[in-house]
């Protein structure tokens, strides 16, 4: 399944360094609010792209969804169940270095299947997913022997091989060169259509969101308004932004919303 309901979510940190400065009488009040009053609902199978400036709390939101971090208040329900801890039902795809460097591609992909008893079935599945991300022949390579794009694909294979309800991706294309970025984006879209699971992606790239997303969420600062936009995009794939009127208009709107005027 993979229906996600985020209700009145808030995340506050106490600034410890300020706290220890005893001569500052306001020190104990120094609380940093990262998320405030966040309400979102993602449908099962949706590809959700979250845009927002640095420091708007989008990464914090992802970490809470993944169960790596606890919310200060509010709750997140996945298919009606609150998230209490990380689980292989919700796989987090890291920005970079998410593969375990001391394990080969094969061993990394095997992580989620290591409890399978049927050796033959396990091997077949691993091979199938390695082929899906076009890493045939690289099974026994260590991550550092692969290019950045290949590393992301290997991590993608590791994530989807466990058939998770939800994929959480934190800037999955950052640090890739331009063409690899476009190819990876296409692969993620194809993969999404194939596995049909909910995917939540944080990105800096407006085009990524326009090309990929079934739903675009724009986050702003918690001190003003956390969710600036939450819109469903009912366009088919593959998409060409230049050829779709609605996407071009939305792009202008997103640029303005994120404070970039000259692009419009």
């Amino acid at each position: 399944m993979g229906h996600i309901l985020i209700q009145d979510l808030a995340k506050r940190y106490q600034n410890r360094r300020q706290h220890s400065r005893k001569n500052d009488i306001h020190a104990h009040e120094k609380i940093i609010t990262v998320l405030e009053d966040v309400n979102l609902e993602f449908q099962d199978g949706e590809m959700v792209c979250i845009l927002g400036p640095s420091g708007c709390g989008k990464s914090s939101l992802l970490r809470i969804i993944a169960g790596f971090d606890r919310a200060t208040s509010g709750k997140i329900l996945i298919d009606g169940q609150p998230i209490l801890k990380p689980s292989s039902d919700y796989i987090f795809v890291f920005q970079h270095n998410g593969l375990l460097p001391w394990m080969t591609v094969w061993q990394n992909v095997e992580l989620g299947l290591r409890h399978l008893d049927n050796e033959a079935e396990k091997e077949e599945t691993i091979q199938e997913y390695i082929s899906m991300v076009e890493l045939d022949g690289f099974e026994s390579y260590y991550p550092h022997q692969l290019s950045g794009g290949m590393q992301r694909r290997a991590e993608l294979a590791r994530a989807i091989v466990v058939n998770p309800e939800l994929l959480i991706m934190d800037e999955p294309f950052s640090g890739l060169d331009f063409l690899t970025h476009l190819k990876m984006r296409e692969e993620v879209v194809n993969m999404h259509q194939f596995i049909n699971k909910t995917i939540v992606i944080v990105t800096h790239d407006i085009d990524d969101a326009l090309v990929m997303a079934d739903r675009v969420v724009v986050m702003g600062n918690a001190s003003t308004k956390n969710i600036l936009l939450n819109r469903k995009l009912a366009f088919g794939h593959p998409r060409n932004i230049e050829k779709i009127e609605g996407l071009r208009e939305l792009r202008d709107e997103l640029y303005l919303m994120l404070g970039v005027n000259y692009a419009v």
Binding site: P86, S87, S88, G98, M103, Y142
Partner: protein
């Protein structure tokens, strides 16, 4: 042009021995004070042939092995715990930082009182000399593990045991192997000193005994053998550090 490093080091050693020979030949030293290389070589051969040398070498290596082994099996697990458990680290680390700068040699009087005469005090001193550096190096290595790997572990439902076996140990292995290499050199330094006090065998004892008999040729044989074994130990550890298990590590 790149020469064989073995060739170059044999050149430098030949020059060193030649210099030594020249100084002792032309200098006005008595053999009791500064023996020439031929005399040292002859004594070395004699000690080797009658088995004395081997006996002392084995005694020293035995103590180093036991003391070092104890330090490894206690120090590395403690380092892992200190690296992972904040509270334990806050509790134990100050003690370790306090004990660490005390030279193992300062422990000699207590070691002798507690363990008597024989192998145990020497082993205890070697253990001390290796234990603290290993604990500190392991703690730091564990601390430096990228937190992403623990998130991956949590994401794939790793048990506590799996976290240790599949994340912590492989992640710290390169740094721990380096630490082992540095530590065994310290242990080898300390064993000689320890053997000058508490025991009747080992290379340290050989040197002390030869000094008492004013046999500087034997003292020098002892020194040379210590140096050779030190190099050998380092080569073994270096070999270990080129292990397949850390082949993933770019830096190595």
């Amino acid at each position: 042009m790149k020469r064989n490093p073995l060739f170059l080091s044999s050149v430098s050693f030949s020059l060193l021995i030649l210099l030594w020979a020249i100084i002792t030949y032309f200098g006005d030293f008595s053999e009791q004070i500064f023996p020439n290389p031929f005399l040292v070589l002859a004594s070395g051969v004699e000690l080797f042939n009658d088995g004395t040398l081997l006996k002392h070498v084995v005694a020293s290596l035995y103590r180093v092995t036991i003391g070092f082994y104890l330090a490894v099996i206690l120090g590395i697990p403690l380092g892992i715990v200190l690296g992972r458990k904040y509270l334990v680290r806050q509790l134990i680390n100050p003690i370790i930082q306090f004990l660490r700068p005390i030279s193992p040699l300062a422990w000699i009087p207590l070691a002798m009182l507690w363990f008597g005469i024989g192998d145990q005090p020497a082993i205890f001193l070697i253990f001390l000399s290796s234990f603290f550096p290993l604990v500190v190096a392991t703690t730091m290595a564990v601390n430096r593990i990228n937190p992403v790997y623990f998130h991956v572990a949590a994401n794939f439902n790793f048990s506590q045991q799996e976290v240790i076996k599949k994340i912590i140990i492989p992640a710290i292995l390169p740094e721990v192997l380096t630490a082992l290499r540095l530590t065994i050199a310290i242990a080898w330094l300390v064993v000689v000193a320890a053997e000058m006090i508490a025991v009747q065998s080992g290379l340290g004892y050989l040197i002390l005994d030869a000094r008492n008999a004013l046999r500087m040729d034997i003292v020098m044989v002892g020194m040379i053998v210590i140096g050779m074994i030190g190099v050998l130990l380092d080569l073994i550890m270096l070999r270990l550090a080129k292990n397949d298990a850390i082949g993933w590590n770019k830096a190595s």
